[in-house]
Amino acid sequence: MAQQPQHTKTKRYGMVIDLDKCTGCGACMVACYAENNVPFRQDDSDKMRSLNWIRVMKVDNGKAFPDTEVCYIPMPCMQCDGQHMQGHSPCVSVCPAVATDYDYPTGIVSQIYTRCFGCRYCMAACPYHARKFNWWDPKWPADMEKYLNPDVSARMRGVVEKCSFCYHRYQKARDKAYVEGRDELHEDEYQTACTQACPTNAITFGDLYNPEHAVHSLSRSKNAFRLLERLNTNPKVYYLSSKSWVRRVADNYLEGENPEQVAKARKAAATH
């Protein structure tokens, strides 16, 4: 959808994930399933057809025993700001029916399941495979429909879905603020389910524009990087790692290139 001139970008919600702290336990995934009514199947082992709004990838440094190291990388939707930071994230610009849109007030990329007609162009466009298709009608056996969260609608077969940064929690927090006569949300009022569930507090969430929010400084720390930064997708999910090999597997580099130099060059180019 066109960038509407009447919008002003007031907030830019983002996430910082400390990979040194992530133990790969999967609590974020499970919390997300429960929060967002993500269905499951008897055999969910075909990972290319399994609905996940956040996946935890296991990567290793490629070294032989006993010098092997493993790192887990949780990957939600990166909520890309797109080239030139104008909301033209890879998926938004391609959706033919405006079923996915850049929410200017929050910077969150929306997905409207009832608008989506399942062409899957957005999936082809997303380099992070953050988008998932509902290959089947969702089913909740026995009495499991009873645990469904009314704040999130269940998706029907044939549409694409993805992480929404738990936008409904933002809505609820705003409702509470309205009733209490406030305009602003506190940092802890709006937190995603995965952030809240992370047992080692590896995930931090907040407004990247707001210096009072932890993500503001964390995303600017020297260990911070994003996945596939060189594609100019401008994700709002940042990662922290003290290990250089982790940084190297987070993006593509030609022989002889080194991540730090490439990052420096990018920054220099961005400021000019």
């Binding site: 066109a2 290959w135 593509n252």
Partner: protein, 412 residues
């Protein structure tokens, strides 16, 4: 035998033979239709697609079939706008082939979407920035144009022609055909291009992404160009095949000669542009994103470097050279070989721009993504072929498709 439904002065096979042929092709069609209903009823889980392969066999088939159907708009352009009289001999057939290609493409698109009953959202709630919107609009509009181009021919069926209104309609539509053809060319230019744009704008997919002009990536122009170049080759190929099957001469040699020549030069210029594009992509676009060319091809037998060589050299430069060389293209065998190669080339190109885009890993820790179509996908992809064969058979039998058939087959 002659019945009033068969155009005057031409000979057609017996009804029994014709029915038998229809039954055979019809069986294939029914198989496809069964698969089609399975997909509509049970959903896209009936396919081999997955979250990595959001686009797969069908989108390739769409792109390929539309490229091959490009013969219609380009011949129309040459006939009605440039005024190449030689092509009158083949233009009807080009339109029919185009009609088949485009109706098939639309059918496949209706299958390919997860919520067919909401498919109209693409029109109603259009996002004008999406290449797919442009594709949908131009595709359906151009299909309307093709139908308009096809109608007069249908109305020329002896039985229909007897109805005065239809007779006049056919006549009047012929009169303004140039206007429709021009609109068709305009629409075709954009939707062929948009199909190229579909992959080219994916800046998150370095394998597909191309820089370009204004809002159009280079693939936009390359797709239009290649469709214009290869579409006529496909028309020639189908005509040649029809001649072989019917054992008749149907089209004047000048038409072949001219189409082959134009195709050849189009193909050659396209190849030059395509090679330049590939070079720029491999040397500038991809490395800026941390990819070297061989990362896109190595490590995988299916999507190996052979695919690039096949597309650019064997199915690109080689047929182009055959077609531009008068002596070679006069040799029917060489001409047909060149047409086959060119058609294969454009199919490989569309394959690469759909399937390999999905297959290539993006993050260093990912692997190549593999995909195998199910029988339902294959059946529904073959369905248009059967449907096309039936439509061609019917058209050939009952419509005056080839204006020079009588003259070219005096003995019969």
């Amino acid at each position: 035998m002659t019945t009033p439904a068969i155009p005057e002065g031409v000979k057609r096979c017996s009804t029994r033979q014709f029915t038998l042929w229809l039954a055979v092709v019809g069986a294939v069609l029914l198989w496809g239709v069964y698969a089609m209903f399975l997909i509509w009823y049970k959903g896209l889980n009936q396919t081999g697609m997955n979250d990595a392969y959001g686009f797969a066999l069908w989108i390739w088939a769409d792109l390929a079939v539309i490229a091959l159907g490009g013969g219609a708009f380009f011949s129309g352009f040459l006939t009605y706008i440039i005024g190449k009289k030689e092509l009158k001999s083949i233009i009807n057939y080009a339109v029919i082939i185009g009609f088949i290609c485009y109706s098939s493409a639309l059918l496949i698109l209706a299958l390919d979407i997860g919520q067919p009953l909401r498919g109209w959202f693409i029109f109603w709630h259009a996002n004008v920035h999406s290449m797919l919107t442009e594709v949908a609009f131009c595709l359906s509009c151009y299909f309307a144009v093709l139908t308009i181009e096809f109608i007069p021919l249908v109305l020329e069926n002896p039985k229909l022609d007897r109805i005065p209104f239809l007779h006049h309609l056919s006549h009047n539509m012929h009169e303004v055909m140039a206007v429709f053809a021009a609109t068709g060319v305009f629409l075709s230019f954009f939707h062929q291009g948009s199909l190229g744009g579909v992959a080219g704008v994916l800046y998150g997919r370095p394998f597909a992404f191309r820089e370009g002009l204004l809002i159009w990536p280079w693939t936009f122009f390359l797709f239009t160009w290649s469709a214009a170049a290869v579409g006529p080759c496909f028309t020639m190929l189908v005509t040649w095949l029809t001649e072989k099957i019917t054992q008749k001469k149907l089209v004047r040699p000048e038409a072949f000669e001219l189409l082959a020549k134009i195709s050849g030069w189009m193909l050659l210029t396209y190849m030059i542009a395509k090679i330049a594009d590939t070079w720029y992509w491999a040397a500038v676009t991809a490395p800026a994103r941390g990819f070297s060319l061989m990362e896109f091809y190595s490590n995988n037998p299916i999507y190996g470097i052979w695919i690039l060589i096949a597309e650019l050299v064997i199915c690109g430069i080689v047929p182009a050279l055959i077609l531009i060389t008068p002596k070679w293209r006069e040799n029917k065998n060489l001409l047909v070989t060149a047409a086959i190669l060119a058609v294969l080339g454009v199919c490989i190109n569309r394959w690469v721009m759909v399937l390999q885009v999905m297959a290539a890993p993006l993050l260093p820790f990912q692997d190549w993504y593999m995909y195998m179509p199910t029988w339902q996908e294959v059946a529904t992809t073959i369905l248009p072929v059967a449907y096309g064969a039936i439509l061609i058979s019917l058209a050939y039998r009952y419509l005056p498709v080839f204006p020079h058939e009588k003259e070219l087959n005096p003995g019969q």
